[in-house]
Symmetry: C2
């Protein structure tokens, strides 16, 4: 096999330089106040004490994805949540400490009494309004911006919003969520029509009276129906 000269294309594993690999997690949550982002105080130098996404180095004997799941499980306490790889960030000098390539994952969690509380698992964690994210270390603000763009893209064509709501939710809640995600107002009547037409919501015989005298009907997401429609190449559109 001829060795190719002056080629960008690799021709063996020899003399290749290994690089530190990390995962960083963008964690979105939603409550009555709006869309939130979970950020942390960095616990080691350089930049200790600064706001940061939560992350971890990837060990040589673990899958990259597992590393992300481990971080998410530890910081949210949740086993099952929506997680998707966002992007690998690989600029040479993105990390001042050493050459580190970071693979970012974004996730959506259903807020409840436990994971709403801060200082998760010994880490100083804070939920912040996604519109008021402070300066984060390294390229973490860039990661957040990209995650938000991706969230908006995904939520437009996939019924992903449900991942941010409790299992039972009302249509006004769902509307608020979409309005928070896109930072715009939707006509409630048209929104209701579109969302119900998908056939992905199951109407329950319960009402939530926490926000109005009249109370709003609770719905749950029909995951079975969604799976069925997805297989047929279904395309949800908001």
């Amino acid at each position: 096999m001829p060795e190719v000269k002056n080629s960008a294309v690799s021709s063996s594993y020899k003399n290749k330089e290994a690089i530190l690999l990390a995962v960083d997690c963008i964690i979105f949550g939603f409550d009555h106040e709006g869309l939130k982002l979970l950020i942390f105080k960095r616990e080691f130098e350089p930049l200790a004490g600064h706001w940061s996404l939560i992350g971890s180095f990837v060990n040589k004997n673990e899958d990259v994805e597992d590393a992300a799941y481990k971080v998410l499980k530890e910081t949210t306490g949740l086993e099952s949540l929506f997680v998707e790889q966002l992007h690998a960030f690989g600029r040479i000098n993105r990390d001042k400490g050493d050459r580190v390539v970071s693979i970012a994952y974004w996730s959506l969690i259903k807020l409840n009494e436990e994971n709403r509380n801060l200082n998760v698992a010994n880490h100083e964690a804070h939920w912040v309004d996604f519109k008021e994210v402070p300066e984060l270390i390294l390229d973490h603000n860039e990661m957040v911006a990209m995650a938000l763009t991706t969230l908006r893209e995904r939520a437009r064509f996939r019924p992903i919003g449900f991942e941010l709501l409790p299992d039972k939710f009302t249509l006004p809640q769902l509307l608020n969520l979409y309005e928070a995600i896109y930072q715009t107002k939707f006509d409630d009547r048209n929104f209701r029509r579109k969302i119900l037409k998908t056939g992905l919501l199951i109407k329950l015989n319960e009402k939530d009276k926490s926000t109005s005298k009249r109370g709003a009907l609770l719905y749950k997401f029909d995951y079975q129906q969604y799976d069925k429609l997805s297989k047929d190449g279904y395309l949800f559109e908001l």
Copy 2:
């Protein structure tokens, strides 16, 4: 700063294991025969001689993205082409040779007489029909499958098809391209209506007579108009 015990979350750069990092490129092209994929004969062990995507290890002193661009430039001879990061593939044993995490990039190129020819830059390269991709090494078939899914997603809502056509193209050509991408037939009259309604095509006063007696009008893509519409949050939909 307290060291967190038994935590997935990293607390310093010390004792972290570096990992080999690679880029692999999924290169799509299109001609009268259909949508093509550029594959290569692997030039080093293990698996030398097997079909593979083209790739390269990432040096410690280069951006990940630059590594991908370098490979693409070398194998296609093109400076400017559509490139987008696809996904980082990070399973522990995905590479038999060593622990290698690969960041895949997908790209679209305008085929011409030069880059259509095989054995690009000393590498044994072949264009293959995307429906008949042979068995590739490692997880490269998985990468191709994901790239195809992403291409279809992108082409649905972004006028990306033009990246695969020459600067001047006819509507029947464009239709053929979309039909190849989605492996389905579109009504030519409705397709024409939709595509022209976007206002992104500039009609030229030239005809291409290579495929019919009558000849088809040539168009070019209006990149300026696209930029303008994109900024206003425009959403192209096929």
